[in-house]
Symmetry: C2
């Protein structure tokens, strides 16, 4: 390992972002700083061999194969970071682990085909736990036509579930993060904030009406990835989109940054499930803007396309803002009178406090 003398700091140099101090911790760099660092190292290593179409930076990687375009995505869920076994059952954990990965394929407008599951488990995990976990995975795999192709099991003091999903992008059409253009509308599928409301309910032992409680529990524990919706988007020539995992504002910020544009959201238009609005009051908007884990699709398109999509998509499609020319990645949230609303937190980021 490189030793860094405090008075003569060594730097790792990159073309795009200048240099990194080698003694900086990833907690200071932040999740997205870390992703940039890795992306630049990989880029510096030279042109990728073979038919890589999309590398680091989008919801999934994409590469050419003889028959078309393939997609690959991987995501880890770590005990104590992404979940605790006090608030999620093993069966729900299985479903959710696969769902968050399938959502990345949905976010590309792709078709999910195969899953590889790497499961690190404490030795005291029981057969009941493992079978419940796989029941959850298999239930969602069955609903989405995904085959469990293989995986790996190993011992670990903490549960770590890492799932890889391989999919296809028929005709090479994909929802990309860099393709938003000024003048387009910003739209989302479904309702936002229900998953975060579910987490608030579970953490705070809120006593909600049974129907709503079940709905929030499902939103948080068993999200349904928008695979069919993603396909319909690309078939209707939507080019820019992603899924909402970290939170609407932070994710729209990523889309806007990669597209070199700004975006404005009208707070009143953000779609929140009516019962959530009623039960959570003012907090509902905050949950919808920055709660994350909704796994709905966020996309940009012209008005005509969105009107067409509202007729064919099986879920509500809501226009909540617009793409505007301006500083890359800037997202402003405005109230009914056009005044900017300050946010306490834009959304979820790993590593930073």
């Amino acid at each position: 390992m490189v030793q860094v003398a405090p008075c003569v700091p060594l730097y790792w140099r990159f073309a795009r972002h200048g240099c990194y101090n080698l003694s900086v911790k990833v907690s200071e760099l932040g999740e997205f700083g870390l992703i940039n660092l890795i992306g630049e190292m990989v880029g510096r290593a030279g042109k990728a061999p073979g038919g890589l179409i999309l590398g680091i930076g989008d919801d999934a990687a994409a590469w050419k194969c003889a028959g078309g375009t393939q997609l690959g995505t991987v995501d880890s869920l770590v005990e104590g970071v992404h979940f605790t076994l006090d608030t999620i059952s093993w069966e729900e954990l299985g479903w959710k682990s696969l769902a968050v990965n399938l959502s990345d394929i949905a976010a590309m407008g792709g078709v999910a085909r195969y899953a590889l599951i790497s499961l690190a488990l404490p030795p005291e995990t029981t057969v009941a736990d493992v079978t419940a976990f796989y029941r959850g995975i298999l239930e969602l795999a069955g609903k989405t036509g995904v085959a469990l192709a293989g995986g790996d099991t190993c011992r670990s003091p903490l549960v770590n579930i890492t799932i890889t999903v391989i999919g296809e992008a028929p005709g090479g059409k994909m929802l990309r993060r860099y393709a938003a253009r000024a003048g387009e509308m910003v739209a989302v599928t479904g309702y936002l904030g229900s998953a975060a409301a579910g987490l608030v309910m579970l953490s705070g032992n809120l006593n909600l009406e049974t129907g709503l409680a079940a709905c929030l529990d499902t939103a948080f524990h068993k999200p349904l990835p928008r695979l069919a919706e993603g396909r319909i988007l690309v078939e209707n020539d939507v080019r820019a989109g992603m899924d909402i995992s970290d939170g609407l504002v932070i994710d729209l910020g990523h889309l806007a940054e990669m597209s070199g544009v700004s975006a404005r959201i009208e707070a009143e238009k953000v779609p929140v499930e009516p019962r959530v609005k009623e039960s959570f009051g003012k907090r509902a908007l905050e949950l919808a803007l920055s709660g994350g884990e909704d796994y709905e699709l966020l996309f940009t398109a012209d008005q005509e396309t969105i009107i067409r999509l509202q007729k064919v998509l099986p879920v509500p499609v809501t226009v909540l803002g617009e793409v505007i020319a301006g500083k890359a990645g800037k997202v402003s949230v405005v109230d009914g009178k056009g005044r900017e609303i300050a946010l306490s937190s834009p959304g979820w980021e790993h590593f930073t406090a």
Copy 2:
């Protein structure tokens, strides 16, 4: 989660292996019991959709795509289980994490194409650590023509590295675990036991001659996956093979079990690097038989094929035993007089003590 009353145990029933007591821990089931359990749950879930050729049980999964046969494999390395940061540098860790996965593609006789890297890191990890880790990965990726297509980063109290490699099996030809036939020779590439000798050296602070120490350090920290060798094996119509990761005897046991045959190894023929034999004495054989982590290829073929391979492979090919009719999975090790040698441990298995 399912509650199990001690006097009325519930069982999870499977076609092949009967039933599992739900309260049994994975430490009692063992790694391979767990893999069987998962394999059977997945199998019970019904016929896999699409073109899955190989599911759980071999070194990699395989599926049809328009242009041919694709391979996918995933493996995790967990801090404190597979490595400790006291004895491996971040750069070596990067190399080794990719190497163990590429070895699974080599074990299928495939061509490795794309890697997806999921990296769970403690927040105090430095930029120097991360850049060193990726330097190690990129060095091996460059040597093997693999493109880093994407991945995931997240926070975790422990380092967990999970790498997925996607590859191809040209012409659909693969080295399979079920294809060994009685009468064939058992052969391996390279030398065995050097990686385990490296671990003994590092753990025990053995003071070995500099050249040997460097060689053992490389064997343990920077194994070179036998990708070219795997390709030559399938091109020469070898059908049964795998890589040696858990140890010669335990891995040959897996090959024999899946092929429904037994195997016999002649201890004197097991190829051990001469300097390892000299420095480790009698222990060298034990390291070669059960040490694991050699990432050499183990395969079976007729004598004529092996003689041909000895001429074309760039590494030594040693015949060390034969496939015999008998109890599926039984492996015996015999001395020069044909007497069976008892082993203290057949090799590495997760979960069991």
